[in-house]
Amino acid sequence: MKLTTTILDAASAIALASVATAGSHMANEMTIVSWGGAYSASQQAAYHDPYIANSGIAIINDESSGDAVAKLRAMNEAGNVTWDLVDVEAADGMRLCDEGLAMEIDFDTQLAPGDDGSTATDDFGDMLVSDCFIPQIVFSTTFGYRTDMVPEGAAAPTDACAVFDLDTYPGNRALNKRPIGNMEWALLCDGVAIEDVYDTLETDEGIARAFAKLDTIKAVTRWWTAGAETPQLLADGEIFMGSTYNGRLFSVIAEQNQPVGMAWGYQMLDIDGWIIPTGLADDRLARTLDYVYFATDTQRLADQAKYISYGPARASSAPLVGDHATLGIPMAPHMPTDPANMTGAFVTNYLWWADYRDELDAKFQAWLAQ
């Protein structure tokens, strides 16, 4: 387990001493679990640093979100939950809620109202997919391609279906080594309407059809398990086109100036957010709720978009999204939720995947191994 401790600098030690009395009913240290890398850095800048400055609370960052469900379950069985707040994808949030490992949230009393006067429930709207899950950002799994490898005379790819078009765009591909996303794209690009995709996948014929579509590119596909792999493969010229999280592609394009372009069409939208583990002691819970109230308000969610190209989950935050903190470029066009990027975009059906993930994953892995 990698445990980075980013806490206070010497300067804020004084602040800590001064609030120790004010916040005595709350614990003065909390462990926040997230994904690490650029994503944790954006949370540090947008949420942690201002919170630490206001409260003097020490925040310990743990980069275990990838294994959060398994680790939280192990901690719960051992009766010693050391995490105060955990950043997970919506599907994992639902799973933790189902297993009773995440606390139910009363959104309207425990979260800040939107600064346009709306209640938290209205402000988050459809993003509230589970009783335990506090949405933060909308991200998407989408495709990036090498602009210098587009064949002469061909138009640059604009959507996910280009990945199946080996005639126009020869070259290697990279796809996530799991069925979620790939099955949807296979059917969408085979002519199934988005509203029929999940019904189709419930039938054996539908699954066979999706695999048949994926078979056409299986020989040229690299299968990734970590989101950082596709940017690396693109930078090395190993692949022509690959899927990954849109924020990773943004940093390859805007921060590292690689010859990479975005094919936004048919992007798969997903939500990332917080869960609070069940069974926290009162003082820790009070601290965590205090943090969450602050870190998920309208301004904080909009601030995060200054550092990474993920869209804020509150409707009221959208108008506040400004320029990138260091690059100075406007961030709105890089958001997955920008209208120009939304052509054919779909949201993963969490409820459906909760039911069929076990079965389809076995089939997917067996298909991969053939």
């Binding site: 294994d67 076990d358 892995q365």
Partner: protein
Amino acid sequence: MSEPTTTATMQAADGTPLKVSLARALRRQKMRALLLIAPLLGFILLGFVFPIGQMLFRSVENDVVRDTLPTTIEALENWDSTSNEAPPEEVFAALAADLQVAVDTKAHTVLGRRLNFEYSGITTLFRKIGRDVEDWDLATDGPFAPRFEDSDDEWLDPDLWRAVLAYSDRYTSGYYLAAIDKTMVNGVIESRPADQSLHLMLFGRTAWMSVLICFCTLLLGYPIAFLLATLKARHANLLLILVLLPFWTSLLVRTSAWKVLLQEQGVINDLLVAIGLLADDGRLQLINNKLGVIIAMTHILLPFMILPLYSVMKTIPPSYVRAAKSLGATDWTAFWRVYFPQSVPGIGAGAILVFILAVGYYITPELVGGPSGSFISNRIAYQWSGAGNWGLVGALGAILLVAVLILYWVYDKIVGIDNVKLG
């Protein structure tokens, strides 16, 4: 010692009989020895025996169904599971009662997740019914079967109830069956459909690739160990450093280095294209397949073969080979009939070390294996952190453990474990 001591009994200096005194001294010695190994013993018990025991227990434990639905299971006993009809009303009434208790602790969704491993779709059924059932009055709202049907008509599917019944015991063989691609239907063991069968193939692949890697390390390691053992100490030491240097380098670093070397736009392919051996569009696929795993793991495990071989070869007196030659043996005969048999214990030690390490390898197949080169351990890791099916993890782990123990036993029968030397 009630009878009075006679002068014939041997006595220690302080007057106690020698026997007692000796026993006391021995006991003290044993206690001291025990104390000395106590930290290790404690560590092994806590860090090895206990977790493995836990894993074994988890692979058969199945309390969740009976704990969550006690009265339902009882009511289900009257239902003919081979029939094609839904269970009678009393079962649904019992289920409603059980669920009303379960929703308070969310036990129903935990159960849903558990049963979903066997029957896709149960997660949602339980989540939905959990919301409905809270408003029901058990005394007046019956009959309940239609209410369940209102929630979702799959509740009347006998297949669903067969899945519940099949996993209603406190202990289950279900995880082991799943681990060998089987399933139990109505008390009969059946194979899972081919498109969901993965584990036996992965066990097989892990085994034969480990054997192959073992063989490759022997092929490459034997001459090096021979050279190490026969060179002058000055040169041998330098060579030994060259063997040990990669051994001391992080596994992750070495695996990543192989990635850089082997990938399509990597060093080896670039080189071959530059000297004209390959066309630019005909680059070799050296990674993300079995070949990549074999190359990287052979390199990583090589020291585990070389070091035992070297330490055994070091003890083989050179005079034997000289004697064979002086008696007229050719170089080959002298090596094959005299030297090689003496080095077999080293081969045995190296082979068993490399094989057992290879069978459990995770990180290298994960990074350079791609889908065709992944091992059973990669699947175990996925089931642990991805799918959360810890019972299956326990069963797969236990099978791997038993397979290695059987191999060890076979090895002992054929070669003899006493013939294994690490030096």
